[in-house]
Structure formats: structure tokens, C-alpha cells
């Protein structure tokens, strides 16, 4: 057990957990931020994706000891009122079915759009194919990513 200090959704948190605790469990069990989902624990499903400096990170692959001093954003921190362009686009395109994988998908898309503000189909395929949606919401996700990309580009224009 160690004291681990990290920033989650802009708030400094200190938690006492085993050093090897994957961040997904630190978030879910210790901080009760259950929007970050467990789907596999081995980096093959993408459900536990969170953001660090705008980049998508698999929280099941980051041990607590390595998370020390770093700053992360979970789905709860993207916006509480669904106002983030990705969240809005997801709602406008009626993407979700069961919704379980969607927090991870939305944050994966955020990471993609940071790197590629106007992504090609191939770039969408590459970034999003790391994640699994068993309901098959991919066609709508692709539309939502394009919609969010357009909204983000407009937002950035002075």
C-alpha cells in the first residue's frame, strides 16, 4: 500500500492503494468513478479509456505507481452536462445502444480528434478499431466523430 497523489478531472486526489493497482480499479473502486468501464483488463477492448493531456490512455494498463503525479480526465470530467462536442455529437447521431463501451469510445474519439482534427476514414478506423462495441454502433460512431470534428474545428476558429 502506498499513498498515490494524482489529479483526476482537475481535482488533486490522494489515495492509498497497492502500487500495482491498475488505474481502472483505482478510479472505479477507490474513487467511485464508475463511468470508466472494465471490459477485459488486458488492453483489447478499450472500455477503460481515459485521457491524459488529451491523449487516449488505457487505464487498465497503467499501474497506480506509474500514475503518480499525472493528471487524467475520465468521462465524468469531459463535461457533466453532455456539452462537450463529442458528447453532443454522440447524442445527435443516436450512437449508443447498451452504452457500456461508449465512455471509452467517446474518449478514444477525443484522442483521435486532438491528433487529427479532420480525420480520414482510415484514421478513424485505426484509432477506433482498438475498441469493441458488441452492439455494433460503429456506423453511427463514425458519423458522430465527423460531426464532433466539424464542431471542434468551428470552436477553434477565432
Amino acid at each position: 500500500m502506498s499513498e498515490i497523489g494524482l489529479t483526476v478531472n482537475g481535482t488533486k486526489r490522494t489515495v492509498k492503494v497497492d502500487d500495482d493497482t491498475p488505474l481502472v480499479w483505482l478510479l472505479r473502486d477507490t474513487l467511485a468513478l464508475t463511468g470508466t468501464k472494465f471490459g477485459c483488463g488486458m488492453g483489447v477492448c478499450g472500455s477503460c479509456t481515459i485521457l491524459e493531456n488529451g491523449k487516449a490512455v488505457r487505464s487498465c494498463q497503467v499501474p497506480a505507481s506509474a500514475a503518480k503525479g499525472r493528471s487524467f480526465v475520465t468521462i465524468e470530467g469531459l463535461s457533466k452536462d453532455a456539452s462537450h462536442p463529442c458528447q453532443r455529437a454522440w447524442l445527435e447521431e443516436d450512437v449508443a445502444q447498451c452504452g457500456f463501451c461508449q465512455p471509452g469510445m467517446i474518449l478514444t474519439a477525443c484522442g483521435l480528434l486532438r491528433e487529427h482534427p479532420d480525420p480520414t476514414d482510415e484514421q478513424i478506423n485505426t484509432a477506433m478499431s482498438d475498441a469493441v462495441c458488441r452492439c455494433g454502433t460503429y456506423p453511427r460512431m463514425r458519423k458522430a466523430i465527423r460531426r464532433a470534428a466539424a464542431a471542434l474545428r468551428t470552436q477553434k476558429k477565432p
Binding site: 500500500m1 492503494v17 497497492d18 500495482d20 493497482t21 491498475p22 480499479w25 472505479r28 473502486d29 477507490t30 468513478l33 464508475t34 463511468g35 470508466t36 468501464k37 472494465f38 471490459g39 477485459c40 483488463g41 488486458m42 483489447v44 477492448c45 472500455s47 475520465t74 468521462i75 465524468e76 469531459l78 463535461s79 453532455a82 458528447q87 454522440w90 447524442l91 443516436d94 449508443a96 445502444q97 447498451c98 452504452g99 457500456f100 463501451c101 461508449q102 465512455p103 467517446i106 478513424i124 478506423n125 485505426t126 477506433m128 478499431s129 482498438d130 475498441a131 469493441v132 462495441c133 458488441r134 452492439c135 455494433g136 454502433t137 460503429y138 456506423p139 453511427r140 460512431m141 463514425r142
Partner: protein
Amino acid sequence: MISSRRAFLKTAALGGASLVIAFNGRRLLGAEKETAKKEAKGKETGKKEAEGKDATARFKPNGWVRIDSDGAVTLTIGKSEMGQGVRTSLAMILADELEADWARIKLVQAQPGPDFKRLGTGGSFSLGGSWKPLRQAAAAAREMLIAAAAAQWKVDRAACTAANGAVLHAASKRELKYGALVADAAKLPVPPDPPLKAASNFRLIGKPTKRLEGRAIVTGAARYGIDTKIPGMLYASIERPPWRGAQRKSSQDEKALAIRGVRIVPCASGIAVVAETTWAALKGRAALAVEWGAAPKNAFDSEAHFKRLDDAAEQKGFVTRKEDAPAGTRAPARTLYATYLYPFYAHAPVETMNCVADVREDRCVIWAPTQAPNSLQEEVAKFLGTTPDKVEVNVTLMGGGFGRRLAVDYALEAAEISRAVKAPVQVLWTRTDDTRNGHFQAASAHRLSAGLDSTDALVAWRHTKAGSPHNLKLPDPAAVRDAGFYQDLSWGVYDMPYAIPSIETAYVTVDLPVPHGPWRSVFAPSSVFAREAFLDEVAHARGADPLAYRLELLKGPDTVKAGSLTIDRPRLRRVLEVVREKSGWGAPLVARHGRGVACNIYDGETHVAYVVEVAVDNAGKVRVERVVAAVDCGLVVNPTGVEQQVEGGIIWGISSALLGEITFRAGAAQQATYADYGVARMRDTPLIEVHLVPSEAAQPFGIGEPPVPPLAPAIVNAIFAATGKRIRRLPVRPDDLKV
């Protein structure tokens, strides 16, 4: 014959270590439909539940509708949400008939108990089965509110109307909100047979409507079973035997017990490691050193099973449909034969199995992502040696169901471990647990033959399915003499829609020692795969266009009976015509690209046709480029929901046709995660066009499952068009298509 829904959703202990569901298809889900109707009817005509002591505050004429004096409308949803959008669709049906203000509705999830004795979600029966009873329940409430307003105004009831959460009297321009009427309405008798709205007056039904959980989902606020947190809750992970029936020879627990807070609790499924966090439980489990011993030589092997299935498909079997050729029909001049093999699949929902149980001296509370709340309640009560009323079941959102959560094995585990450790416990399955220990979609073999006369007319059709009922227990001897039993197992075989003079279909039961049970589209996918692909073979053998040939075979009488189903050929023709038109069927394609067609009527109700375009590269890799779908699922409640389900069914079909299968060696499933049990991802997603065909049906039918069965055959038919190679076994293997 299994004849009650209780039996249908019953789980049966097998080998003491795992559980499977006893499932009997349409007959029982059909029975459920009827009982659901009767139950709802009984509610309306029977007791009035004004919630006596506080009748001024709320109006609750039945289990489905409650209106509070502040105008809040609470609708009870009796179906479990697993992504099919059922909470939204059922709420639309209730709110429309009630004339409620959509912005003011709240939903509560029904709990099993005296009000709800038959909750259960499966078979794509939710909308068809709920349509009338829910409308009657909401209409009764609406009529009472209108009557209360008319009485208050001392005007003729007929001069009043309801809209948007209020009653209006147009002549005097008076309006009373529902909230203001609840006290008076609660004193009125519940009308036994309230008038239902005309379809032309629907305000919500038929309009594209956003899923009610949408906002909660995209903000991470939606709570699934896995998100349940109870004060003092412990976490458990279960080390399971590697092959069925394995007994623990020895285990070294010291390393696991050295982890802080870890307790080891032997249980029916294996060895539970219980701790204060999920991670400690997982670490403890990894630290266990358990010796299970080697599997016996005759342990289950899927390749050997395929041989048995293949042999079995040559047997006579139980005849599920037999139509002799009318006199004057020419004898076959040549006969085509083929055998199709369909593999095992796992459900693999992204939310793995999990359940929280809090077992106390005198009661038990469960939080479960479940499709079968009453069955779960009964089974947990039985296990704990108590009565169902002592088991409270809270149904959570599900991160996918697909039939897996009709079984209640994971809930029994939670109850067993909670009782042992005397604390609330969450049991969580790992991805590997989930992939290897579910109830699988059973493999099957299909032997088909087609007799063509001297003019090449199709005069004889034979289709024998060798498979395994969704039940590890031997069926009741009475049931095995019942055609309905085998027809249930032969969805897509015996209800073959085409007009052929001589038809004989049959089912051969093959024992299957691994758990197997309902999966998306239940018994239909394997049968429709074989039927629609073989029909394609027949069309090509005759040099006919496969789409035109289907339309030709759908001539003759417009409706025909097959078992208890009525096949409506014009509706199937219509969806085929739509995909022909919208897909550009017949337009030239480049080399190694091809189009395939397939269609199906799911359980006599929902009609689906696809044209699929594929590209096959020189390495044999198949890419589905485009899917054009036409669907007639009766009256459409939520077009958005229908489109989502069709898109999802197509993606599901791509997974099963091209990617994952479960294989068994030495008694154990060989795949563990999405890495080796492939499922479709963004890169596998084609362009999808969904065309909803206007239906003359006056009610909705299911759409969660019907899109699945015709997709795989459309793909293999397209592969044939692209390569000239006929695929008769799923999933498609690139090696077979290499140049």
C-alpha cells in the same frame, strides 16, 4: 413438454459446477406473450391500486402508470434494457396512449414480485407482447383522468380530450393538468376495456426518438450491474475449473492469503477469492496455485463434435414439415446436395457477467444485469432455502445481453459467496471467464437437397438440421414426440417460405455436453445460413439470378402455414424488391467483388432482406463493403431504434460470418478474449443502408434479433459471386479464398 415460463427460464445445475438455461424457444416465449397479455388484462379489470392511504398524492391505476399531484408521470418498464432500446420504446407506447408530456416522464424498472410475476426479456417479443397490454393500461389511466376532469367541469365526457399531460375542454377553453386530476381520478373505477387511440392520432409512436438513457450514457452516469456499490461490499473473483467436471486435486493458498484482506471461499463454481477491492481479488486469484489434473481422453472436442453432427444430419430425424408434391408434379431429374456447418459462438458482451448479492438472515437483496428477473429471484430463493418474496431483485442496465443474461448462474454465485462471508459481495467475471464459461450458441450441421425436374424446376426440398436443443438436460420424453418442440429448434428450417411442390424438413438431436443456450436470434442463424446459401447454389446451378429466383419461388399462394406460423409471401417479396432496387442489384462490379442476397421471416413476424457487397483480396480476406437492408417489422414504434438494431444485427452477423468462433479441445473452450475470439470493429464496418418498408401490420414486431440470420448467408453468397467459391462452413476462412 416444458410448458411453463418458469421451466423456460429455469436453470439446472449441471455437474455441480455450472449452470445452463433450460430453454425451449418460441413455444415458451409465445406462452409468455399470452400470459403477459392475460396478466395485464387482469390488472386492468381487477384491483384498483389507488395506493389507498395517500390517494390524493398519486394516481396509480395499474402497475405501469403512476401520476403524482405535481404532474410527474412515472412509467414502469417491465423489460430489461440491454441496448435494444426497449425502455424508450415501451415508454413511447405508454406515454402516447396516456397523452403524457414526454418531457415529464420518469421510468422505473419493474422488480419481480406480486405486481410483476413474469418479467423476462428475450426472443424479440418485447414490443409485440407489450403493445396491447401497455396501451390498454395507459388508455385506462387516460380515460379516468378525462372522466375526472369532465366531472369537475360538469361537462360531457365526449367534449373533453387529453393531450400533452392535460385534459382540455375545447368549447370552454378550459384545461386541467394531469397532476391536478390525480385525486379525483384515483376515486374512479378502472375501465375494463378503454378505447385505444387510432394510429392516425399517434404523437410519439412512429417518430424518431432519442434513447432515454442517452445523456446518462455519454456522461458516464449510467449505472450498469458492474457499477453497483453497496456500503461494506466485498469483491469476488472465481477461479474456475479449466475443463468441465474437473475436480481440484490440490491448491496452494498461502500466496493468495498473503494479500491484504483476501479470503478464500470454495464455491460450486470453483474457488472464490474475496477481497476489499476488485484488484486484490484478482491478484489473490492469480496467486492461487490450483492443480486440476488432466482432462480425460474423451473430453469434449469440437472437431469430433462436427463429425457427429455431420453424421447425424444424414439420419431421418423428427419430421417438422412434410408436404407431398401434388399429382402431376414431375419427378426430379437431378438432385443437388450440400452439407453446411455452423460453429459455436460466445455472446461476449462487453460488460462481463457480474452480480451483487447481500444475503442476510431474513432476506437477500440482489443487483443484477439480468434478462430474467423472476427466474433469478426464484432460483436464488431456492438456493438459499427461502421463498421468492424474501429475495429482492434490482434490475440494472446491462452492457449487452444477447441471451447470455437469461441464465442466472452469476447471481447464484453472488448469493452463495455473500452468504458464506456474511457481507454484500460483487462477483465479477473476467473476460476470460466470460468467453469460456458462458452458454454457447450450439454448433449444428445442415443436410440439404434440392430436386430439379427435367425443365430445371425445383420440385423437391429437403433440409435436416442436426443440432442441440438449448438445454443440457434431456428433454421430457413427452416433448420429444411433439412436432412443436422440434419446430422451435428449427426456426428457419421448417418455416422455409418458398413455394416448392415437395418439402420435407427434419431435426436430429445430438447430445452436447457443454453449456449451450440462447444467443442473438436464438435458433434461427444456423438454419437461415444453410437454407439461404443452399438456395443460392440451386439458383446458380440453374443459371438463374438468385434474387429473381427467390421472387419467383415466392409466388403461389400469398400465405401458407408452417407449424403454428403463417408465412406471408407478399411481405417477403416486398423487402426483396426494395433491396433489389436500392442496391443496384445487377450493376457490374470489378473483379473479386460480388453481391449476395438473402432473406428471412423471423418467427413468422419480422421480414428482412439484405443485399451485401463484398471484396475478397488475393490473400482471401473478405471485406464487407456495403449492406443494403429492407425491413418490415410491422408498425414501427421508434424508427431510430429499429435502424440501430438493424445496423447492430449486421455488425453482429459480420462478426459471426467472418471473425470469431469458439472451439473446444480437451473439454475446454480455447478462446479467451477479443484477441482470439474476433468480433467486428470499426475497420470491419461497411456502409449500411436501412430501408424501413411500410407495413400493413397494425402492431409492432421484434427487431433485436431478426436482422442477424440472413446476414451471414448474404455474405457467403456474395463471396460466391466474387470468387466462384462456395463457403459451407462458418466462419469464413481466408485460406479457402486465397488466389
